[in-house]
Subunit: 145 residues, 2 copies
DNA sequence: ATACTGTACTAATAAAACTAGTACACGTAA
DNA sequence: TTACGTGTACTAGTTTTATTAGTACAGTAT
C-alpha cells in the first residue's frame, strides 16, 4: 500500500506523508482507522522507526492524524477534512506573504488585485500544460507493500 | 554607508542586498547613479569580490539595479520602481501558492476568500504589535562605511 | 510482567549554502 | 596598443543545515 523510492531525492519521511495523504484523499483509509504502527511500518519499509515517527509527526502537525501514546496513530480526517487541512496550510503561507506585503504600506485593494492576478496566471498555466504528469511527487517506486 | 554584521547568521551577500534596498527606498541612491564597484566594496568591507558580485546579481534579478559589463553597476529603480520590484516578487510567490491551491480543485471564489482572510489576520497582527522593532533585518552592525 | 504502542535524545551521515581564490572577458582612456 | 578599470565564470574549501539511524525511555493493554 505504501510506495517508497529509496533513491529519490525526496526525503523518505515526506514520501510516507504523501502516501498517507493520498490514501486518505482516496478514502482507502477511513476516519479513526488505525495506521500501521511506527515499528511495524519501519520493518516493512526497512527504515528506522524514528523516520516513520517523524512522518507521523508531520501528519499530526498538518491535522491529518492523531496520536494516542501507547495505543497507536489514527486517521483523523475524512477527505473533506483533508481538504480543510490543506486549506489551513495555504492560509498560513498566505498570511506570511501578506504580512510582508503590508510592510510596504500598500492598501488592501492592491493586495486583492495581486491575488486575482495570481489566480489568472496560475489558471492559464494550468490550462497551458496538457495532460502531462500527475501532481504526485514520485511514482517510480521500488517497493510496494 | 553600508552596515555589515560579520557575526550575524544572515549571509553577507544578503546584508548587502538589504543595505542597497534600504538606501534606494530612502532616496539616498538616485536612479542611474553608480554603485560602488565590486572590487571597491569588497576591499572596503573586507570581503571577496565574488560575495559582492553575488549580492549585485541578486539585486539585478530583483530588478533593482542593472549591470554594464566593463562599466559598473547602476541603480535602476526610483523608490516607486523599488516598490514595483517588491510587488513583482510578491506576485511570483503568490503565483506559486495559487498553483498548488488550484490543484486541490477549489474554485476562484474560495481562493479570494482565503486572500481576504489572510489580509484580515495580517492586519490584526500588525496592529497588535506596538511600536517594537523595525522590520529591518539587522541593525547591530559592526562596521559602517 | 510482558508485549505492544509512541517519543525523546544523541550521533552519524548526506546535502546544501555560503564564501573565497583564481583566472578570464569587456570597456574606457592614455 | 597598452594599461587599468570594470563585471563574471569556474572551482574549491568551509560551514551550516537537513535527513536518517541508534539507543533508551514512557505509556497502555492483556
Amino acid at each position: 500500500m505504501f510506495s517508497i523510492d529509496y533513491r529519490s531525492p525526496v526525503p523518505l519521511y515526506l514520501q510516507i506523508v504523501d502516501n498517507v495523504e493520498r490514501l486518505a484523499a482516496r478514502g482507502v483509509l477511513q476516519p479513526d482507522s488505525q495506521l500501521p504502527s511506527v515499528r511495524g511500518l519501519a520493518v516493512e519499509l526497512s527504515l528506522n522507526p524514528n523516520t516513520v515517527s517523524r512522518a507521523y509527526g508531520e501528519l499530526e502537525a498538518r491535522g491529518l492524524i492523531y496520536s494516542l501514546p501507547g495505543r497507536g496513530n489514527f486517521l483523523a480526517a475524512s477527505s473533506s477534512a483533508l481538504l480543510q487541512a490543506m486549506e489551513q496550510q495555504t492560509l498560513r503561507r498566505l498570511h506570511m506573504l501578506c504580512s510582508e506585503y503590508i510592510c510596504l504600506g500598500q492598501p488592501r485593494e492592491r493586495w486583492l488585485t495581486l491575488c486575482k492576478e495570481a489566480w489568472q496566471q496560475a489558471e492559464n498555466h494550468e490550462n497551458g500544460k496538457e495532460e502531462g504528469e500527475k501532481h504526485d511527487r514520485d511514482t517510480g517506486a521500488d517497493q510496494t507493500l
